[in-house]
């Protein structure tokens, strides 16, 4: 067996185990962390396939940003996982149907010979996947790419607009006003003649 195959099988085993833990873990935080491990291992597998840009982007976007926010939410929510499990047997037939459909689709795609696909020849070591992808995205596919970006932007604006609440009574200070404050607005210096501390002594005597 070649070394790369060995590495592939090790990563695949970790990936499958981690994915299994995502759906079997009792604690939602553990499940989310297993998902992080699954993403990372998938990134490693892509790296093995010489798709280093996709691999690094997967780690950067999904592990570095999406899963952090996901964990953030999961940790704050008090999810009762047992309650969510209750509907398992009722939903099983539909879920099984979807699973079988997905399996059939994947099997069709993976049987590459049906589409006349042959595995590409390995590229030389100095081949930059990132540069090629960038060139493709920003020349040949620039309009679809920009369109996708605009759609994402619209989705983001919509999500913010949907959850935006106007609360009239809240306290708020304009930062520009805050930094414009000068010493004289808050502080008054009074010049006084020096005085003898006579009064406290009298008070002490009274106490005694």
């Amino acid at each position: 067996m070649e070394f790369t195959s060995l590495v592939f099988y090790i990563f695949s085993a970790i990936l499958l185990l981690a994915s299994l833990r995502v759906i079997t873990a009792k604690n939602p935080v553990h499940a989310a962390l297993s998902l992080v491990l699954a993403f990372f291992t998938a990134g490693c597998l892509w790296m093995l396939l010489e798709a280093e840009f996709l691999a690094i982007t997967l780690v950067l976007v999904y592990i570095g940003a999406v899963m952090v926010l996901f964990l953030f939410v999961v940790m704050m929510l008090d999810i009762n996982i047992e309650e969510m499990r209750r509907g398992f047997w009722e939903n099983l037939p539909l879920a099984a149907l979807v699973a079988i459909l997905m399996m059939v689709e994947m099997a069709t795609v993976l049987g590459g010979s049906r589409f006349g696909l042959t595995p590409p020849a390995p590229k030389p070591a100095d081949y930059s996947n990132t540069r090629e992808l960038g060139l493709q995205l920003y020349t040949d596919y620039v309009y679809p790419f920009e369109l996708a970006a605009v759609i994402l932007l619209v989705a983001m604006v919509a999500a913010i607009a949907l959850t935006l609440r106007r609360r009239p009574g809240r306290k708020w200070v304009d930062p520009a006003e805050q930094i414009k404050v000068k010493r004289n607005d808050r502080l008054r210096l009074v010049s006084m003649a020096p005085q003898k501390p006579a009064a406290p002594k009298a008070a002490e005597e009274e106490e005694a």
Binding site: V29, V36, F53, I63, G64, A65
Partner: protein, 340 residues
């Protein structure tokens, strides 16, 4: 000593052994640097606050970091009874590992780099973005309100500032036209006025300040916030587990300082064209930025939480976006040489 002799002796095991030796050659000085950065911090801030700092152990207190290390190593690691044990012990490791792993692609001189990969800049961003898990998990696994508050603050803060940081790096990559860190340094050759701090000055500032925020250091240290939430995410940690967080923070400081020097201050290049280039210059630049970090800590009061968020989202991100547009536009004009 002939390396080829060893290569023949070990056969196929040679490559892993040689790589391991190189990794040790990077990590060991780094950990020593971390130890003496803590010493430098205590001394420098001491002098800034007109006191002496640690001066008891060894000459000028130079053995203080070693004494601290020994003390922490022999202390018990207490695990709170309500903690999620596995994650509680995993969190310090997750904080430490990315801080060390990112060094793989950092070029120390034009030939001295462990892995000269093409997507080096992306790799550094991906690895450093995983550092937040250590903090978040530590807070959650401790099962304590203070720790949890600290980790929540840290997660929100790091995710916000990562965007500005990423945009700042996009500017560097546009100017250098490469993601390879060695190429980025080479593109800045020709003296101090060719380094990217000048054409990308706003991005340089944003990167430096966002770097401090990513490190959870003063004035952005709300995740620890001694005066509000005791010590934040690592309040329940003791002994070596606590020390790991400490080491991770300082290793990350050196990492951010090195990245800033590499991308904006010309890495190993000398400021004046006639002088020889070398690791010496990189060390000098890194020390200068580390000194800035310590100086910030001694000077600025802690930001209020909403001010941190405002700075990240409403100031830094627009600034970087505008400057990216400027760089992109300038690269299409006859003055493009100013930005290369």
């Amino acid at each position: 000593m002939n390396l080829d002799y060893f290569a023949e002796l070990l056969g196929p095991a040679w490559l892993p052994v040689w790589t391991l030796a190189k990794i040790v050659a990077i990590v060991a000085p780094l950990l020593l640097g971390v130890a003496y950065l803590t010493y430098a911090e205590r001394r420098i801030i001491g002098y800034m606050q007109v006191r002496l700092g640690c001066n008891r152990v060894g000459p000028w207190g130079l053995l203080q970091p070693i004494a601290d290390g020994l003390k922490l190593m022999f202390k018990e690691i207490i695990i709170p009874s309500g903690a999620s044990k596995g994650l509680y012990l995993l969190a310090p490791v997750l904080a430490m590992a990315p801080a060390l792993a990112a060094w793989a692609v950092i070029p120390f001189t034009d030939t001295l780099v462990l892995a000269d990969v093409d997507a080096g800049l992306l790799l550094v961003m991906a690895i450093t973005s995983m550092g937040v898990y250590g903090v978040v998990l530590a807070g959650w696994a401790s099962n304590s309100k203070y720790a949890f508050l600290g980790s929540m603050r840290s997660a929100a803060q790091i995710v916000s500032y990562e965007i500005a940081m990423g945009f700042a790096l996009v500017g560097v990559l546009m100017s250098a036209q490469s993601l390879n860190l060695s190429d980025i340094v080479q593109a800045q050759s020709g003296g101090i006025h060719q380094w990217y701090w000048l054409p990308l000055f706003p991005l340089f500032l944003v990167y430096l300040i966002a770097g401090v925020a990513e490190l959870n250091r003063a004035p952005f240290d709300v995740a620890e916030g001694e005066s509000e939430i005791v010590a934040g995410f690592h309040v329940d940690y003791s002994g070596m587990a606590f020390a790991m967080f400490f080491l991770a923070e300082y290793a990350n400081m050196i990492l951010v300082a090195t990245l800033t020097s590499t991308m904006f201050l010309g890495g190993w290049l000398s400021p004046i064209p006639g002088l020889p280039d070398g690791f010496f210059w990189l060390a000098l630049k890194v020390s200068f930025i580390l000194f800035l970090f310590l100086w910030f800590r001694a000077t600025f009061p802690r930001y209020r939480y909403d001010q941190i968020m405002r700075l990240g989202w409403k100031v830094f991100i627009p600034v970087t976006l505008v400057w990216l547009l400027v760089v992109a536009a300038m690269l299409q004009t006859p003055w493009a040489y100013l930005f290369h």
